[in-house]
């Protein structure tokens, strides 16, 4: 494996993989900044009600209009971005660390531990997509904490499978065997030599995982199983919009646009990173 050229010597679009990925990165960074500074950027208090203006459409005073309780939708979309990023960051961090460690240990040691982790993965993968998260939140009760917990429970599986496979392959690579022959201990081999080979794939998975976590939280909140009102979440806002499709479609349009844009940003970025990390393109 040759050392890649220093990042400083490459243009951004080469590192993240093409113009679409740069566009994705820009969207993600802008959204992150908006989420971070939401309290200062918001034109209004996201929970302040002006019942006289309820369901009013977009205008100069309220660019995204007002919702069913007369709250400013732009301010609520900005506040919702904080929830989305919070869920994305927490779920991706927890699941990537837990999944990578379990996958690495299973792949490296094999035996009963590998058998145990692999069977657990099989069972969790037998539940399609969000179903297990829906089931968990259904019994635990709807709340942000339970959403984070449920999404992490289903999230680690992908990383574990990925890292386990990478570790199985890395175990046979010469430099790893050389390290072992030189007397390096197991933790050193695992963390210094084996896990870094899996890192690019994990980074790609994590980027796409952000998109997945954000959509999943919104889906659960849309179903009434996630973040509870009055906390503004994009999914909860869409749920409220369903009742007003006829008289106030702007309730549906803006929060949905926010979800689609941010998810598209992460997907573009993840796709680009994958192309950039593709060993085939590195060798060429």
């Amino acid at each position: 494996m040759t050392e890649p050229p220093a990042a400083g010597g490459r243009r951004l679009r080469d590192v993240v993989g093409g113009p679409m990925a740069v566009a994705g990165l820009v969207v993600v960074v802008l959204a992150a900044v908006a989420a971070l500074f939401a309290p200062w950027l918001s034109p209004y208090d996201p929970s302040a009600q002006d019942l006289a203006l309820r369901l009013a459409g977009p205008g100069w005073q309220h660019p995204f209009g007002l919702d069913e309780l007369g709250r400013d939708i732009l301010s609520r979309v900005l506040a919702g971005a904080r929830i989305s990023f919070l869920v994305g960051v927490v779920v991706v961090s927890v699941s990537s660390v837990v999944g990578s460690v379990l996958g690495a240990l299973a792949g490296y040691f094999g035996g009963w531990f590998d058998e145990l982790v692999s069977r657990l993965i099989d069972i969790l993968l037998a539940f399609p997509g969000l179903l297990l998260a829906i089931a968990l939140v259904a019994v635990l009760g709807p709340s942000l904490m339970h959403v984070l917990f449920a999404l992490s429970i289903i999230g680690w599986v992908g990383y574990a499978r990925l890292v386990r496979g990478q570790v199985l392959r890395a175990r046979e690579i010469e430099f790893v065997q050389a390290a072992r022959a030189l007397g390096a201990g197991t933790p050193r081999i695992l963390f210094r030599h084996v896990l870094p080979t899996a890192l690019p794939a994990v980074v790609v998975q994590a980027t796409l995982g952000m998109a997945g976590a954000i959509i999943s939280e919104a889906a659960l909140s849309f179903l009434g199983l996630g973040v509870q009102p009055p906390t503004p979440s994009w999914g909860t806002m869409l749920n409220a919009g369903i009742a007003h499709l006829l008289d106030a479609p702007h309730l549906t349009i803006f929060p949905g646009l926010a979800i689609a844009l941010l998810v598209l940003g992460f997907n573009f970025l993840g796709d680009g990173l994958r192309d950039a990390a593709d060993p085939k393109s590195v060798q060429a």
Binding site: P128, G129, L130, I134, A138, L223, L245
Partner: protein, 306 residues
């Protein structure tokens, strides 16, 4: 082939048992007392004790587990707390609606995605390809709980062409089927494009072209046929997304299927019915994966698991 099928079938048994065990344990994850949670804080102690006995929650855990598995094998999943109807019957009644929606959405996906993917691959790097690829990425990124309401706003509210909710004739089916089929179409189109491109690089395609086979024939007859294997696989894998998507789509369009039943049962804390819906959806998914694997083995004789 027989051994392959048998082996694959046997591998499914522990997974089904694991799924059943997880669904069984769900009710024990309810914080505090699940019976109290179902009846509300104000319930009389006698009422609580009665429901606890009815659900069998007063028995030792292993007895409950055995009874659950025994019932499952006989198709008995208890009765709904709200309607007293047997869970199996309640779920079975909703099944045709969900099946109708799922089949329609997969049909929409295949009819849109496969031509789109093949065209994008055949005209790789052109405006057509670029448009198709962007459309596909949009389809993946737009959540169906936004697409559905948007379609309803345009086609039901603004244009008045289609009904906004409920189940009836073909007109009722169109918007839900597109909502559920769009993300699947997006994934399928991407996969078809990649798969056909891969095959187009193969020597046999070049050989066919050298022998004077037209470009269209080379794409459709040679490359596309061989690219079907990964397409079938991804179709099988995406079936899970269709099942979960159905839960959301049915909620948006008030479609009386299993997904809507699940969400309604959650609202009413009707745990036996929740368990029934979850089990049915998960088992259907396991069965679909099994069929995909078997189809995979049939399509490509080189693939056998040993």
């Amino acid at each position: 082939m027989g051994a392959f099928i048998l082996r694959r079938l046997l591998l499914t048994v522990p997974v089904l048992l694991g799924v059943a065990t997880l669904v069984f344990s769900l009710i024990h994850l309810v914080p505090g007392d699940p019976v109290q949670a179902m009846l509300g804080e104000g319930a009389a102690p006698a009422e609580v004790a009665q429901l606890r006995a009815r659900l069998g929650l007063d028995r030792p855990l292993h007895v409950q587990y055995e009874a659950f598995l025994g019932g499952l094998i006989q198709g008995d999943l208890g009765t709904s707390l709200r309607t007293n109807e047997p869970v199996t019957r309640a779920v079975a009644e909703r099944l045709p609606a969900t099946a109708e929606l799922a089949v329609a959405s997969m049909l929409v996906a295949v009819l849109v995605a496969i031509p789109l993917g093949v065209i994008a691959a055949a005209w790789r790097g052109t405006g057509v390809d670029y448009t198709a690829t962007t459309l596909a990425l949009l389809g993946i990124s737009i959540p169906n709980f936004w697409l559905g309401p948007l379609l309803a706003i345009v086609f039901a509210v603004q244009l008045g062409w289609l009904p906004v909710s409920g189940r009836g004739g073909l007109a009722h089916l169109i918007l839900p089927a597109i909502t559920l089929g769009a993300p699947l179409a997006a994934v399928l189109a991407r996969m078809t494009r990649a798969s056909v491109l891969e095959e187009l690089r193969e020597i046999y395609v070049l050989a066919a072209r050298a022998k004077g086979v037209s470009r269209t024939r080379a794409v459709l007859h040679h490359a596309f046929r061989n690219s079907l294997i990964p397409i079938v696989t991804i179709f099988g894998l995406q079936f899970g997304a269709v099942l979960t998507g159905a839960v959301i789509t049915e909620t948006i369009f008030a479609w009386p299927g299993v997904g809507r039943l699940l969400i309604q049962s959650i609202e009413f804390r009707d745990y036996p019915l929740v368990q029934g819906c979850i089990l049915l959806i998960a088992f259907t998914y396991v069965a679909a994966n099994l069929l995909t694997d078997l189809a995979y083995g049939l399509l490509d004789p080189r693939i056998r698991y040993d």
